[in-house]
Protein backbone atom coordinates (compact mmCIF):
# COMPACT_ATOMS: atom_id res chain seq x y z
CA UNK A 1 0.00 0.00 0.00
CA UNK A 2 1.47 3.38 -0.97
CA UNK A 3 1.58 6.66 0.96
CA UNK A 4 -0.99 8.22 -1.35
CA UNK A 5 -3.68 5.75 -0.33
CA UNK A 6 -2.99 6.37 3.38
CA UNK A 7 -3.18 10.11 2.77
CA UNK A 8 -6.42 9.69 0.87
CA UNK A 9 -7.83 7.56 3.67
CA UNK A 10 -6.88 10.14 6.31
CA UNK A 11 -8.50 12.88 4.28
CA UNK A 12 -11.68 10.87 3.76
CA UNK A 13 -11.91 9.93 7.46
CA UNK A 14 -11.91 13.61 8.41
CA UNK A 15 -14.17 14.57 5.52
CA UNK A 16 -16.73 11.93 6.48
CA UNK A 17 -17.02 13.58 9.91
CA UNK A 18 -17.09 17.18 8.81
CA UNK A 19 -18.95 16.98 5.48
CA UNK A 20 -20.08 13.96 3.47
CA UNK A 21 -18.34 11.55 1.19
CA UNK A 22 -19.77 9.80 -1.85
CA UNK A 23 -20.85 6.12 -1.63
CA UNK A 24 -17.88 5.19 -3.86
CA UNK A 25 -15.48 6.96 -1.53
CA UNK A 26 -17.14 5.33 1.47
CA UNK A 27 -16.76 1.89 -0.12
CA UNK A 28 -13.10 2.57 -0.92
CA UNK A 29 -12.45 3.84 2.62
CA UNK A 30 -14.14 0.84 4.27
CA UNK A 31 -12.12 -1.49 2.11
CA UNK A 32 -8.90 0.35 2.91
CA UNK A 33 -9.59 0.39 6.65
CA UNK A 34 -10.14 -3.38 6.60
CA UNK A 35 -6.72 -3.87 5.10
CA UNK A 36 -4.74 -1.15 6.86
CA UNK A 37 -4.25 -1.25 10.62
CA UNK A 38 -2.76 2.25 10.75
CA UNK A 39 -5.75 3.89 9.04
CA UNK A 40 -8.17 1.72 11.04
CA UNK A 41 -6.53 3.12 14.19
CA UNK A 42 -6.88 6.63 12.78
CA UNK A 43 -10.55 6.07 12.07
CA UNK A 44 -11.14 4.65 15.57
CA UNK A 45 -9.31 7.58 17.16
CA UNK A 46 -11.45 10.05 15.22
CA UNK A 47 -14.66 8.28 16.19
CA UNK A 48 -13.53 8.16 19.82
CA UNK A 49 -12.75 11.87 19.75
CA UNK A 50 -16.20 12.68 18.40
CA UNK A 51 -17.90 10.37 20.90
CA UNK A 52 -15.99 12.03 23.70
CA UNK A 53 -16.87 15.47 22.41
CA UNK A 54 -20.55 14.57 22.32
CA UNK A 55 -20.36 13.18 25.86
CA UNK A 56 -19.48 16.57 27.35
CA UNK A 57 -22.30 18.58 28.81
CA UNK A 58 -22.56 21.45 31.28
CA UNK A 59 -24.07 21.88 34.71
CA UNK A 60 -26.49 24.75 34.83
CA UNK A 61 -27.47 26.69 37.93
CA UNK A 62 -31.30 26.75 38.01
CA UNK A 63 -31.07 30.14 39.71
CA UNK A 64 -29.40 31.53 36.60
CA UNK A 65 -32.41 30.60 34.50
CA UNK A 66 -34.84 32.07 37.03
CA UNK A 67 -32.79 35.27 37.31
CA UNK A 68 -32.64 35.59 33.54
CA UNK A 69 -36.37 35.05 33.17
CA UNK A 70 -37.05 37.74 35.78
CA UNK A 71 -34.70 40.18 34.09
CA UNK A 72 -36.28 39.55 30.72
CA UNK A 73 -39.78 40.10 32.13
CA UNK A 74 -38.68 43.33 33.79
CA UNK A 75 -37.11 44.58 30.56
CA UNK A 76 -40.22 43.54 28.59
CA UNK A 77 -42.33 45.69 30.93
CA UNK A 78 -39.94 48.59 30.44
CA UNK A 79 -40.13 48.24 26.67
CA UNK A 80 -43.92 48.14 26.83
CA UNK A 81 -43.92 51.30 28.94
CA UNK A 82 -41.59 53.05 26.51
CA UNK A 83 -43.76 52.02 23.59
CA UNK A 84 -46.88 53.35 25.33
CA UNK A 85 -45.03 56.57 26.18
CA UNK A 86 -44.20 57.14 22.53
CA UNK A 87 -47.83 56.88 21.42
CA UNK A 88 -48.70 60.57 22.09
CA UNK A 89 -45.62 61.62 20.13
CA UNK A 90 -46.69 59.57 17.10
CA UNK A 91 -50.29 60.85 17.35
CA UNK A 92 -49.04 64.45 17.48
CA UNK A 93 -46.75 63.88 14.51
CA UNK A 94 -49.53 62.33 12.44
CA UNK A 95 -51.99 65.10 13.29
CA UNK A 96 -49.36 67.69 12.57
CA UNK A 97 -48.65 66.25 9.12
CA UNK A 98 -52.35 65.98 8.28
CA UNK A 99 -52.94 69.58 9.34
CA UNK A 100 -49.81 70.64 7.51
CA UNK A 101 -50.98 69.11 4.24
CA UNK A 102 -54.51 70.48 4.63
CA UNK A 103 -53.34 74.02 5.37
CA UNK A 104 -50.33 74.08 3.02
CA UNK A 105 -51.88 76.42 0.37
CA UNK A 106 -53.07 78.83 3.08
CA UNK A 107 -49.71 78.85 4.88
CA UNK A 108 -47.91 79.35 1.55
CA UNK A 109 -50.01 82.42 0.83
CA UNK A 110 -49.44 83.64 4.38
CA UNK A 111 -45.67 83.35 4.00
CA UNK A 112 -45.86 85.02 0.61
CA UNK A 113 -47.86 87.94 2.03
CA UNK A 114 -45.49 88.32 4.99
CA UNK A 115 -42.48 88.13 2.69
CA UNK A 116 -43.83 90.82 0.38
CA UNK A 117 -44.79 93.12 3.26
CA UNK A 118 -41.41 92.66 4.94
CA UNK A 119 -39.68 93.18 1.59
CA UNK A 120 -37.51 90.05 1.88
CA UNK A 121 -36.37 88.04 -1.20
CA UNK A 122 -38.73 85.22 -2.18
CA UNK A 123 -36.01 82.64 -1.38
CA UNK A 124 -36.13 83.68 2.29
CA UNK A 125 -39.88 83.29 2.82
CA UNK A 126 -39.84 80.04 0.80
CA UNK A 127 -37.12 78.72 3.11
CA UNK A 128 -39.31 79.82 6.04
CA UNK A 129 -42.20 77.84 4.61
CA UNK A 130 -40.00 74.69 4.32
CA UNK A 131 -38.76 75.18 7.91
CA UNK A 132 -42.38 75.47 9.06
CA UNK A 133 -43.03 72.08 7.45
CA UNK A 134 -39.95 70.45 8.93
CA UNK A 135 -40.59 71.74 12.44
CA UNK A 136 -42.79 68.81 13.66
CA UNK A 137 -40.30 66.25 12.35
CA UNK A 138 -37.43 68.07 14.08
CA UNK A 139 -39.34 68.18 17.38
CA UNK A 140 -40.23 64.48 17.12
CA UNK A 141 -36.62 63.56 16.28
CA UNK A 142 -35.37 65.57 19.25
CA UNK A 143 -37.86 63.83 21.56
CA UNK A 144 -36.79 60.41 20.29
CA UNK A 145 -33.13 61.27 20.69
CA UNK A 146 -33.74 62.44 24.26
CA UNK A 147 -35.56 59.20 25.16
CA UNK A 148 -32.94 56.85 23.68
CA UNK A 149 -30.27 57.02 26.42
CA UNK A 150 -32.73 56.19 29.19
CA UNK A 151 -34.19 53.26 27.22
CA UNK A 152 -30.70 51.90 26.38
CA UNK A 153 -29.42 49.55 29.06
CA UNK A 154 -31.83 50.46 31.84
CA UNK A 155 -32.52 47.65 34.25
CA UNK A 156 -29.38 45.66 33.45
Amino acid sequence: MDDDSHERAERLIAQACVETISPEERAWLDQHIEECARCAGQSDATERALRSLRSVTVQLDPELVKRTQLMVRFRAQQLEGERAGMLPVWVCCTLSWILGIATAPLVWRGFEWLGQHAGVPSLVWEAGFVAWWLLPAIVAAALLALRRPESGRAGL
Binding site: A14, C17, V18, E19, A45, T46, R48, A49, L50, S52, L53, R54, S55, V56, T57, V58, Q59, L60, D61, L64, V65, R67, T68, Q69, M71, V72, R73, R75, A76, Q77, L79, E80, L156
Partner: protein, 194 residues
Protein backbone atom coordinates in the same frame (compact mmCIF):
# COMPACT_ATOMS: atom_id res chain seq x y z
CA UNK B 1 -42.77 23.70 11.54
CA UNK B 2 -43.52 26.71 9.35
CA UNK B 3 -46.37 27.61 11.70
CA UNK B 4 -44.06 27.31 14.70
CA UNK B 5 -41.53 29.64 13.09
CA UNK B 6 -44.23 32.15 12.23
CA UNK B 7 -45.58 32.19 15.78
CA UNK B 8 -42.01 32.54 17.05
CA UNK B 9 -41.44 35.53 14.75
CA UNK B 10 -44.73 37.12 15.84
CA UNK B 11 -44.03 36.50 19.53
CA UNK B 12 -40.54 37.97 19.34
CA UNK B 13 -41.89 41.00 17.53
CA UNK B 14 -44.43 41.51 20.32
CA UNK B 15 -41.72 41.08 23.02
CA UNK B 16 -43.92 38.31 24.43
CA UNK B 17 -42.47 37.47 27.91
CA UNK B 18 -44.22 34.08 28.01
CA UNK B 19 -42.52 33.07 24.80
CA UNK B 20 -39.17 34.33 26.10
CA UNK B 21 -39.63 32.30 29.31
CA UNK B 22 -40.26 29.23 27.20
CA UNK B 23 -37.26 29.88 24.94
CA UNK B 24 -34.92 30.47 27.88
CA UNK B 25 -35.99 27.12 29.32
CA UNK B 26 -35.70 25.36 25.99
CA UNK B 27 -32.26 26.68 25.02
CA UNK B 28 -30.68 27.10 28.48
CA UNK B 29 -28.21 24.22 28.24
CA UNK B 30 -27.28 24.74 24.63
CA UNK B 31 -26.67 28.47 25.00
CA UNK B 32 -24.65 28.16 28.19
CA UNK B 33 -22.63 25.30 26.74
CA UNK B 34 -21.87 27.39 23.65
CA UNK B 35 -20.83 30.36 25.75
CA UNK B 36 -18.65 28.17 27.95
CA UNK B 37 -16.88 26.76 24.90
CA UNK B 38 -16.50 30.23 23.49
CA UNK B 39 -15.21 32.08 26.55
CA UNK B 40 -13.80 29.23 28.62
CA UNK B 41 -14.99 30.96 31.82
CA UNK B 42 -18.15 30.15 33.70
CA UNK B 43 -18.75 33.58 35.26
CA UNK B 44 -18.32 35.31 31.90
CA UNK B 45 -20.53 32.74 30.20
CA UNK B 46 -23.29 33.24 32.79
CA UNK B 47 -23.15 37.01 32.43
CA UNK B 48 -23.35 36.69 28.66
CA UNK B 49 -26.19 34.19 28.99
CA UNK B 50 -28.33 36.86 30.66
CA UNK B 51 -27.28 39.60 28.26
CA UNK B 52 -28.04 37.40 25.29
CA UNK B 53 -31.66 36.90 26.35
CA UNK B 54 -32.12 40.61 27.02
CA UNK B 55 -30.77 41.26 23.52
CA UNK B 56 -33.11 38.64 22.06
CA UNK B 57 -36.00 40.50 23.69
CA UNK B 58 -34.85 43.91 22.47
CA UNK B 59 -33.92 42.83 18.95
CA UNK B 60 -36.67 40.24 18.54
CA UNK B 61 -38.21 42.15 15.66
CA UNK B 62 -35.04 41.54 13.62
CA UNK B 63 -35.58 37.77 13.57
CA UNK B 64 -37.34 36.93 10.31
CA UNK B 65 -37.56 33.16 10.60
CA UNK B 66 -35.41 32.50 7.53
CA UNK B 67 -32.64 30.96 9.62
CA UNK B 68 -33.07 28.57 12.53
CA UNK B 69 -33.68 30.33 15.83
CA UNK B 70 -30.60 28.77 17.41
CA UNK B 71 -28.41 30.10 14.59
CA UNK B 72 -29.67 33.60 15.32
CA UNK B 73 -29.35 33.07 19.07
CA UNK B 74 -25.75 31.85 18.88
CA UNK B 75 -24.83 34.72 16.55
CA UNK B 76 -26.17 37.23 19.10
CA UNK B 77 -24.31 35.48 21.92
CA UNK B 78 -21.10 35.51 19.90
CA UNK B 79 -21.34 39.21 19.10
CA UNK B 80 -21.95 40.00 22.74
CA UNK B 81 -18.98 37.86 23.79
CA UNK B 82 -16.69 39.71 21.40
CA UNK B 83 -18.10 43.09 22.50
CA UNK B 84 -17.59 42.21 26.14
CA UNK B 85 -13.99 41.21 25.61
CA UNK B 86 -13.34 44.38 23.65
CA UNK B 87 -14.84 46.47 26.46
CA UNK B 88 -12.75 44.73 29.09
CA UNK B 89 -9.48 44.94 27.24
CA UNK B 90 -7.60 48.11 26.43
CA UNK B 91 -7.89 49.26 22.79
CA UNK B 92 -4.27 48.31 22.24
CA UNK B 93 -4.93 44.60 22.75
CA UNK B 94 -8.39 44.25 21.32
CA UNK B 95 -8.77 40.66 20.11
CA UNK B 96 -8.58 40.27 16.38
CA UNK B 97 -10.24 36.87 16.42
CA UNK B 98 -11.82 34.36 18.75
CA UNK B 99 -8.45 32.76 19.25
CA UNK B 100 -7.82 35.52 21.74
CA UNK B 101 -10.99 34.92 23.72
CA UNK B 102 -10.35 33.72 27.23
CA UNK B 103 -7.64 31.58 28.67
CA UNK B 104 -8.31 27.93 27.76
CA UNK B 105 -6.81 26.83 31.08
CA UNK B 106 -9.55 28.60 33.02
CA UNK B 107 -12.32 26.80 31.19
CA UNK B 108 -11.94 23.47 32.89
CA UNK B 109 -14.36 24.21 35.69
CA UNK B 110 -17.05 25.02 33.14
CA UNK B 111 -17.26 21.65 31.41
CA UNK B 112 -18.98 18.76 33.10
CA UNK B 113 -19.18 15.13 31.98
CA UNK B 114 -22.51 13.78 30.84
CA UNK B 115 -24.33 11.55 33.31
CA UNK B 116 -27.08 9.85 31.35
CA UNK B 117 -30.08 8.96 33.54
CA UNK B 118 -30.23 5.31 34.51
CA UNK B 119 -26.63 4.59 33.57
CA UNK B 120 -24.79 2.01 35.62
CA UNK B 121 -22.21 3.24 38.13
CA UNK B 122 -19.34 1.88 36.07
CA UNK B 123 -20.63 3.74 33.03
CA UNK B 124 -20.96 6.92 35.05
CA UNK B 125 -17.41 6.60 36.29
CA UNK B 126 -16.17 5.91 32.79
CA UNK B 127 -18.13 8.88 31.45
CA UNK B 128 -16.72 11.09 34.18
CA UNK B 129 -13.18 10.00 33.37
CA UNK B 130 -13.81 10.48 29.66
CA UNK B 131 -15.34 13.90 30.37
CA UNK B 132 -12.19 14.87 32.24
CA UNK B 133 -10.04 13.90 29.26
CA UNK B 134 -12.22 15.87 26.85
CA UNK B 135 -12.21 18.92 29.13
CA UNK B 136 -8.45 18.84 29.26
CA UNK B 137 -8.15 18.34 25.50
CA UNK B 138 -10.65 21.09 24.71
CA UNK B 139 -8.90 23.49 27.03
CA UNK B 140 -5.76 23.12 24.91
CA UNK B 141 -7.55 24.06 21.68
CA UNK B 142 -7.83 27.63 20.39
CA UNK B 143 -11.31 29.07 21.06
CA UNK B 144 -12.06 29.32 17.34
CA UNK B 145 -11.59 25.54 16.97
CA UNK B 146 -13.57 24.75 20.13
CA UNK B 147 -16.40 26.88 18.85
CA UNK B 148 -16.81 25.23 15.45
CA UNK B 149 -16.33 21.72 16.85
CA UNK B 150 -19.06 22.33 19.36
CA UNK B 151 -21.45 23.89 16.83
CA UNK B 152 -20.92 21.00 14.42
CA UNK B 153 -20.79 17.96 16.68
CA UNK B 154 -22.86 18.98 19.69
CA UNK B 155 -25.35 21.38 18.16
CA UNK B 156 -25.45 19.48 14.86
CA UNK B 157 -25.52 22.71 12.88
CA UNK B 158 -24.92 22.61 9.14
CA UNK B 159 -21.70 24.11 7.83
CA UNK B 160 -23.62 27.04 6.31
CA UNK B 161 -25.30 27.69 9.65
CA UNK B 162 -21.93 27.68 11.42
CA UNK B 163 -20.67 30.15 8.84
CA UNK B 164 -23.67 32.38 9.60
CA UNK B 165 -23.12 32.19 13.37
CA UNK B 166 -19.40 32.88 13.16
CA UNK B 167 -19.63 35.39 10.28
CA UNK B 168 -16.85 33.44 8.60
CA UNK B 169 -16.60 32.11 5.02
CA UNK B 170 -17.56 28.47 4.54
CA UNK B 171 -13.98 27.58 3.63
CA UNK B 172 -12.73 29.02 6.93
CA UNK B 173 -15.33 27.05 8.86
CA UNK B 174 -14.26 23.84 7.13
CA UNK B 175 -10.59 24.42 7.70
CA UNK B 176 -11.20 25.22 11.39
CA UNK B 177 -13.20 22.02 11.71
CA UNK B 178 -10.53 19.86 10.08
CA UNK B 179 -7.75 21.42 12.13
CA UNK B 180 -9.79 21.39 15.31
CA UNK B 181 -10.72 17.75 14.89
CA UNK B 182 -7.13 16.75 14.18
CA UNK B 183 -5.93 18.76 17.18
CA UNK B 184 -8.61 17.31 19.47
CA UNK B 185 -7.70 13.78 18.40
CA UNK B 186 -4.04 14.49 19.02
CA UNK B 187 -4.74 15.91 22.45
CA UNK B 188 -7.00 13.01 23.43
CA UNK B 189 -4.43 10.47 22.26
CA UNK B 190 -1.77 12.30 24.24
CA UNK B 191 -4.01 12.28 27.32
CA UNK B 192 -4.87 8.59 26.96
CA UNK B 193 -1.22 7.77 26.42
CA UNK B 194 -0.23 9.22 29.78
Amino acid sequence: MELETQSLVRGLRRHDPELLDHLIGQYQFRLLRYLLYLTGRREVAEELFQETWIRVLERGSQYNGKAKFETWLFAIARHLAIDMLRRRKSPADTPASLDDLGDPGEGRAGFEPANPPGAALIDLLAAEEEGEHVRAALACLPAAYREVLMLRFQEDLQLEEIAAVTSAPLSTVKSRLYRGLAELRRQLEKDHGR
